[in-house]
Symmetry: D2
Subunit: 339 residues, 4 copies
């Protein structure tokens, strides 16, 4: 059960409420986020919800039988809107476009990408400075200095940035220089990282695990939310299957299912989802029609020279076209009465 507390609840009321829930035989977790205070009760016994509901200090109470609670649409039908400042949002009813290179490489590269984004009215940029690599001998990114440089140039241009955080110790050092922390597909179930991101007041985009289920993605989001941070974005980026003709299997089924189960915005990553440059646009547009609230894709001035993921990266001409097509497709989708 989720109990939303009134802002002016007294300590005594709160204690009495906790006692009442424990009394049913439920385990309680107190959650305090940017937007409110909650008590989560976990248990299986049936109880009379009215008995708790009429107690003082309660704004609302909900039964949520899913394993995830706070990220469920069952208690919060209204979609969550992520406000990044300066009029930049990621939210249901809108189409966020996030583009940029796989890896941040140099000042020159950053400047060129930013110029490209500005020319195409794209307000969010992706890029990696800490790169998870399966081989210890591969390029691991420019690190925190690269991030500082990038953030300065981007914020000057009014561009919001999203970049991967790989471990707890990076959260704090990255904080002044990032708009959205990205949790990568290999860290979707790095529970300590999720716990710590719950303590931060910046948006977090969680990628679905390499072979993560939809349920696990929602539970990972629940970790961050229950840690205190409601600013969450979910990202479908392809899953591992037996098929070898594409890098991953982009599971667009996940988009309407996530939108139905959760109030959080859902982003699609066609670049990792298919891994082949020529087909990224089709899969991006398919993602829009599947119901995505945004698309994140890789672009680079000269993809063939990118430090990583060049084979799935669009050049600026392709990127400009895609941004236009995404917007047109989204405009059409809005005229359809889709659930």
């Amino acid at each position: 059960m989720i109990i939303q507390l009134q802002e002016d609840i007294s300590d005594k009321q709160r204690e009495s409420l906790l006692a009442e829930v424990i009394n049913i035989g439920y385990k309680t977790t107190e959650v305090k986020t940017q937007l409110g205070d909650y008590i989560i009760g976990i248990g299986k016994k049936e109880f009379d919800i009215r008995k708790i509901g009429k107690k003082e200090g309660i704004k609302d109470i909900h039964i949520v039988s899913d394993e995830y609670k706070l990220v469920s649409k069952k208690w919060k039908a209204k979609p969550t809107s992520i406000d990044l400042g300066n009029g930049v949002f990621i939210k249901d009813g809108d189409m966020a476009i996030i583009a940029g290179p796989c890896s941040i490489e140099s000042e020159d590269q950053i400047r060129k990408v930013i110029k490209h984004l500005k020319e195409n009215d794209i307000k969010m940029m992706r890029g990696g400075v800490f790169k998870p690599r399966s081989s210890p001998y591969a390029f691991r990114g420019l690190g925190i200095d690269g991030l500082k440089l990038w953030y300065d140039l981007a914020s000057e241009a009014g561009i919001k940035i999203v970049t991967e955080v790989m471990q707890v110790s990076q959260i704090e050092e990255m904080y002044p220089y990032t708009d959205i922390y990205q949790v990568g597909a290999r860290n979707t179930q790095n529970f300590n990282l999720l716990d710590e991101l719950g303590k931060v007041d910046k948006a977090v985009m969680i990628k679905r695990g390499i072979s993560g289920t939809i349920e696990e993605l929602l539970q990972s989001a629940e970790y961050v939310f229950s840690g205190g941070n409601e600013k969450l974005i979910l990202c479908e980026r392809g899953i591992r299957t037996y098929e070898r003709a594409s890098r991953n299997t982009l599971d667009l089924n996940a988009v309407p299912i996530l939108k139905a189960k959760s109030h959080l915005p859902v982003i699609v990553d066609p670049s990792h989802g298919i891994g082949i440059r020529a087909y990224v646009p089709q899969m991006a547009l398919a993602g829009v029609m599947a119901g995505a609230d945004g698309i994140i894709y890789e672009t680079h001035e000269i993809p063939e020279k990118a430090y990583s993921d060049g084979q799935q990266t669009l050049d600026f001409t392709q990127s400009a076209l895609l941004a236009d097509w995404i917007r047109k497709t989204f405009a059409m989708r809005k005229t359809f009465d889709l659930v």
Copy 2:
């Protein structure tokens, strides 16, 4: 290698040609389809293609290194167009809509579906009369009598039908009463069935196997083509993965990949692909944007009362809306310069 023969090739020229190919150390297969005669040469040794190419009786010669040959785009860049008669086509550059129930149930049901299709200008109807069921105790379809009844009503209304053939012995009895034979996902590698369908002059739609690869789907099509039948359609209908939130994982990546590898038209089945009625429209439209040449979906007057697959079947109101959205989405896609 694929050698396309001239129509007026003499027996002597043909024999000389075969001898030449065998002489290189290649195994030959002679293929005669509705549209032409071919010699397929299988082998690994390098050879001088000009030596064969200048022989008499040859229209064209191509090196195709893929495991599949005749269905490859490497020798036939022009997309294959399936002409079903009466101005009904399945082809690249067009959008085929195929709708109908999972199972053919009764004359009344057939009439109602046909009326719905006519009202929405849908020219192809799907339906099962031989049903593959994992349990031997489940409903197995109305059989050949149901097919006759259905075919008569459909052809009277100018509607083309597609229905599953489950075994070799059914091919002949179904022949007068079907427009497109469907090979189901459990029979994609039923090689005897594919062989026999090669001998028939009617279109064949091959569904991707339950956990079939893209490569295997193309090889299954190669079976039918090399048996003598070029009228082939490929269908992506979802694959089996670890994810349990949807019936299957609709692999839309397969659409641009199949279109790039083969000259055959590609159809998407969102009904089986996600298995949840409310999300069938989104996935259908995603399929259109991914590059499909057609959409096949399930519709029934009262889905809750359907003999099978009701949970993924649209009612007629939803179906009418979806057909309209599919057409609008396809019209927009054509304005984009997608590969």
Copy 3:
């Protein structure tokens, strides 16, 4: 529900019984096998089993809630023993060894394998004469003539043979020349083939599908049993997963699970299960310890020259060692008190 009928049940008693079951609201299927007559009732309504149980003509009555019924251990706790004649059995409490080449190639090859089997007291031989191949241009086996030759030589030597049947039309022509029909992994859900094998009085070994579930394997066996043939053997041969370091993923978990769910014997195929010659012995012995009632593996005088599957085929020296190790491991397993 499964109702076992008395051998001397009268037509009147049978009709009365059917009427009673239909009266509950259950669909009935009458099954007549080599060993008995059964009525299967399918439905969901609860009913008083005693009311049916006390009717005349009944030997026993069982509630079986699984999707599969007749192959379930819930009504038949006693393991099924497959008697192949001449003292050759496949059964729980015994260890069947089946060895032979992937493809039957020639009389000379057959004679050499038979000699090897005799020297090592191996009483069952595997081999393919109809080969399912993903490419239409690959070697498809010697066909029925190869089978006749092989069967004659094998039966003369007192060796029982198991070979794949690919389509309904082959069942009858193969009948005089086979001891065990094998249903291959691509045909596990070829329901027509399963239906027809139910009408035959010879043993059938069903391989698990390429990506078939344990449940589906049992349902495929149910098809044959409900068609009238109780002589069934299940075979685990590896499943398709994302892992590429082995040909398939041998799922030995399936062995104890199948043994617990069904009364049918379970065989393990380590050759296809891992696909790498050097590791076939380990996986065979692992299969024995997992609880298999038999091992089927590939052997050839000169594996490198085998027409197919050479990379996973043992030579005769390796095969002789393996047969010995299998027997020793099985003898030890019997001293353990495993479920």
Copy 4:
């Protein structure tokens, strides 16, 4: 390429050597472990190995084309032996048995398990104090205090312990109280954690990822080794597939493949591998026959009352039997001439 350095190499010799490798166009990584100093060269250009090989300060030089290098058998054919002190080893040619509860729960529980282990001559104990849980509301373990208590009791009894480390910050606090750090299946690609474990002089057991490949497991081990720690153990614990009848699909194919590719010892975890108590013994013995150097399984005085994983945990009677069977099976395996 891997260059093993002589212990008495001079700084000048080292610099000259690095310069030579860089000169070929290779990227170099210097590795210093407990057992030696290495230079790893990564690149694709061909070069004359003799030219480097004859330089001073070199003990040996090897070309290793795999993505992983230091963990490969290609340069170190001799199996790695993990010496835990007091005569306890994990190594090829030996059979390590590691048993204990899923979670460490209380002093009483620890004492009972230790008593059981001592009675059965089991020298290693498993247990979790930091528990990765997919839901933030589940029991997360006793933490560092539980570890201290456990370690004291275990070391007093001469028992070595293995326990999961979930994040970098725990490495140091756990150090005095653990014998083997376990990297869990959700952290197999937590590269920062792997990096940091490279700096520690204690054994590390890396579990295969939830859907990790064999290749990825070896690369994760490469991270730790290249970070400076050679004391590595690999663990197969089941992978995620579509099959739902078992918790995971225990991939015993991985055992001989890992043993062939790497010099590191390989452990099998049948408890997580199948997830059903009744079948854990069979799968453990199958693991022994597949070639494992050890078995890790869950045991608890009263499995039904365990805080976690009770359904796959053996009671002490079952555990005692299993330990005996493992030893007998291993003794028999040693008499076979398996690769």
